[in-house]
């Protein structure tokens, strides 16, 4: 049986968010920039759950920056893969769809499964946390590597943490 996604819980994790686009998206403002997160499209094949999410960095008077995410969770609610694409507004710079297989990131920023078990979490919950953590850090760095010559007022750069927090919050809204 596939894991399930709780949209209301997901939305609640964005502080100060307001509903937009006839209820199909939320927006929240961080610093001096606004970001839009569309409600994920859900699909499952009976064992795995896929969440497809669009994100915008809202730029007044200019074309928005766009990110597309596709996350796949197994039946235990453990993240299996993330695919992302990035399209910068106006200048047309794009990062084509890139697939990250979660268990292959090899970062283990949390120091392995034992470190999070001290939090009293079950083994599966701890594993889910480790994978989310590692994947967010990996995706952040992978996208950042494209930014060597980018310039803007900071809102485009902060889109990176927005993507990371979004992956994290999606993972926190999926349960077995």
């Amino acid at each position: 049986m596939a894991a399930t996604f709780d949209l209301d819980h997901f939305i609640s994790l964005f502080p100060g968010a307001s509903v937009h686009k006839d209820g199909t998206a939320i927006e929240y403002t961080v610093e001096d920039s606004t970001y839009r997160i569309y409600n994920p499209d859900e699909s499952n094949d009976g064992t795995s759950l896929t969440l497809d999410v669009k994100l915008d960095h809202v730029r007044g008077g200019a074309t928005d920056d766009h990110v597309g995410l596709s996350l796949v969770f197994d039946s235990s609610a453990v993240l299996q893969s993330v695919a992302y694409s990035w399209e910068a507004g106006n200048d047309g710079y794009t990062i084509p769809r890139t697939l990250v297989v979660a268990i292959d990131t090899g970062i283990e920023v949390v120091g392995g499964l034992g470190a999070v078990e001290t939090g009293g979490a079950s083994v599966v919950a701890a594993q889910a946390a480790v994978v989310i953590f590692d994947t967010c850090a990996f995706v952040y760095n992978q996208i950042a590597s494209h930014m060597v010559k980018w310039t803007d007022n900071g809102g485009r750069f902060y889109f990176l943490p927005v993507v990371g927090h979004c992956i994290n919050r999606l993972g926190s809204s999926v349960s077995a």
């Binding site: 994790l13 502080p15 100060g16 929240y28 403002t29 961080v30 610093e31 001096d32 609610a77 970062i107 283990e108 920023v109 949390v110 120091g111 470190a115 999070v116 001290t118 939090g119 009293g120 979490a121 079950s122 919950a125 701890a126 889910a128 946390a129 989310i132 953590f133 967010c136 850090a137 990996f138 952040y140 760095n141 950042a144 590597s145 930014m147 060597v148 010559k149 980018w150 310039t151 803007d152 007022n153 900071g154 750069f157 902060y158 990176l160 943490p161 927005v162 990371g164 927090h165 994290n168 919050r169 993972g171 926190s172 999926v174």
Partner: protein, 175 residues
């Protein structure tokens, strides 16, 4: 897990050479847009002084999210280096384990203008993590990088600014 914004500001103020503005009110947190009441619109303004001069910065209200099961936390923020010719920015992303200990951090430095390459650090996952980010940024800075009133000294404070912020973030997180 919790992020204490007042502890952050206090710890930042204690970094050598650092002085937080308006620290007697709300520990230095002020609305960037005086018409806003949104927490994410708050900043801490501060100066960093060294032998080369005194430079101005602001750190924006940090964004936090708990990892699944609440067994860790991700914390990010943007830091502005206020320059007369256009701000530089540091974006910091960090993670904390279930005991509230920092387990990774990474930073990207975006320079105003297009003449200098931005600096993207790798994930620092062991040892003194704030110091690791400091070293990573410092190694990417060149003497020719940027100008503050026709000098390069301002941008050479950026490793200290990232380190001070990460140390303050680490102090602010508790389980």
């Amino acid at each position: 897990m919790n992020f204490n914004y007042n502890t952050f500001a206090q710890k930042l103020d204690g970094y050598p050479g650092m002085d937080v503005d308006d620290e007697h009110d709300n520990y230095g947190w002020v609305q960037w847009d005086r018409g806003s009441t949104d927490d994410f619109n708050k900043v801490v303004n501060y100066t960093f002084k060294n032998d080369d001069g005194e430079f101005e910065y602001e750190t924006w209200h940090q964004e936090t999210s708990l990892v699944p099961g609440g067994v860790g936390m991700m914390v990010s923020c943007k830091i502005d280096f206020n320059r007369a010719t256009g701000d530089d920015h540091i974006i910091v992303m960090s993670g904390f384990d279930s005991d509230g200990n920092m387990n990774f951090a990474q930073a990207s430095v975006q320079f105003h203008g297009s003449e200098d390459n931005n600096i993207i650090t790798s994930q620092i996952t062991s040892g003194d993590i704030p110091q690791g980010v400091y070293s990573a940024i410092k190694s990417g800075l060149k003497d020719s990088y940027g100008h503050v009133d026709d000098s390069t000294e301002g941008r050479h404070t950026l490793p200290d600014i990232a380190k001070a912020n990460l140390q303050a973030m680490a102090a602010a997180v508790s389980k």
